[in-house]
Subunit: 257 residues, 2 copies
């Protein structure tokens, strides 16, 4: 339990990845003054529960978390995925109550921040603040795109779409042929994301592999024919609101292909 002052360099470097800018000295100093704790969260542990007071935010140094809601039938529908180097729970800065669970899927390392303090920080330093709010709002874009995916596309396209998104969001991976990443979700969980039964997810993955569009060994996915995958998925990356850096990397990969 230490203030971020304890490790401002770590903090700055982690945040820079996401905020895509260099912190000014005064911003860094103010950030260091936030009461933040570096915290390990075991797999299957909750960061927040639905109904909690909106006090917690976190930056994910390592691991994967999911946002989910439980239906009366008892299914845990996944409404968001929080990956390494992203924030979780940012909306708690401004909302009055937590309306969904956030749970660690794998063992996680977080920088936990107090939502009210972070909000004050955001209000005093609008440059970074705007980037944080943009991050929070990107969650809307993603949820809305998932809505299209789940509501309007058939099974193959839904799964393909998820594969495309994960490829772009998982750090260090561009959506280019040969890009590969470790699937952070089981097939069951992928089904909970795209609104399909786990058996249906399995069948789609099988067929994508058979047709040579992706390769899979253990739970590492490699995109072989990205063009075809994207087309099949009706995928367009705009909704992810990626920074210029990622977009450029992607365009470059495209041009090279």
């Amino acid at each position: 339990m230490a203030d971020l002052d304890a490790d401002p360099a770590l903090c700055a470097s982690a945040l820079m990845k996401r905020l895509k800018r260099r912190l000014r000295a005064d911003e860094l100093a103010a950030f260091g003054r936030l009461h933040a704790t570096r915290r390990a969260l075991e797999a299957d542990t909750y960061l927040v529960h639905e109904g909690d007071p909106p006090t917690r935010c976190a930056y994910i140094l390592d691991g994967t978390l999911i946002e989910s809601k439980v239906t009366r039938a008892g299914d845990h529908r996944i409404i968001g995925v929080c990956l390494k180097n992203e924030f979780a729970g940012l909306s708690n800065m401004f909302l009055d109550a937590v309306d969904h669970d956030i749970r660690a899927l794998t063992a996680c390392v977080l920088i936990e921040l107090n939502a009210a303090q972070l909000r004050e920080f955001v209000e005093h330093y609008p440059d970074i603040g705007g980037a944080l709010i943009a991050d929070a709002l990107t969650a809307t874009s993603i949820a809305q795109d998932w809505l299209v995916n789940v509501g309007a596309r058939e099974a193959r396209a839904r799964v393909a779409h998820l594969l495309c998104e994960l490829s772009l969001r998982i750090e260090g991976t561009s959506l280019s042929d040969g890009g590969s990443y470790r699937l952070p979700l089981t097939q069951q969980q992928m089904g909970d994301v795209v609104g399909l039964h786990r058996v249906a997810v399995n069948r789609v993955l099988r067929s994508l592999v058979e047709e040579g569009i992706v390769r899979q060994s253990k739970n590492v996915i490699t995109l072989i024919d990205t063009r075809r995958l994207e087309e099949l998925a009706d995928f367009s990356a705009r909704y992810l609101h990626l920074g210029r850096s990622e977009r450029d990397r992607r365009a470059t990969a495209r041009a090279a292909a």
Copy 2:
């Protein structure tokens, strides 16, 4: 094309409905200085298109707009509904590009605001600013709840859920027995919201009427047995982040029943 100064009283009263607070004199003055135009928008006209620069925000004085995306198959999936006395396009304050269309469903009257100016206003007046951002973030909650609805529930529940939400969001209507409202969507459009074919929506509505859960004449819906409708829909209002006023009204209606 007039600044809001032209009609600060109207502006304040409209906003107060949503922001649930009284504007301080300095806030009102600053708000009046924003370049804002009262604008009529014909039915079937676009406020913004996907890909536009993120310049436009609007407060809806009257009418209904929808946010939508077009799939390659050509369906217009509806990813959000913007009702009277709500904002549309608030996320443009912080995001770099518009990733979906916003279109007037009916003739609308808007107070149109410049996103960048509004952002500055938000940064200078954090009290109102926070309320505006909370409003923008509520869109995430709604999209995520729709995600559960579309991905995990069967046709009956999906339609019932939408009816519950509209009842609460449409101004002046509490979710109590006997509350009625004009459906702002055709059955086709309701289908585009909940991921069903218009024929399926029609059948659900028919059955809800037959079973005496709702009444419908023309396109006015009256909730007869709210308890049953909510249960059937697996509906809980938390995700709407309603202000105390609405919540109280609802609780009162409940207690009275």
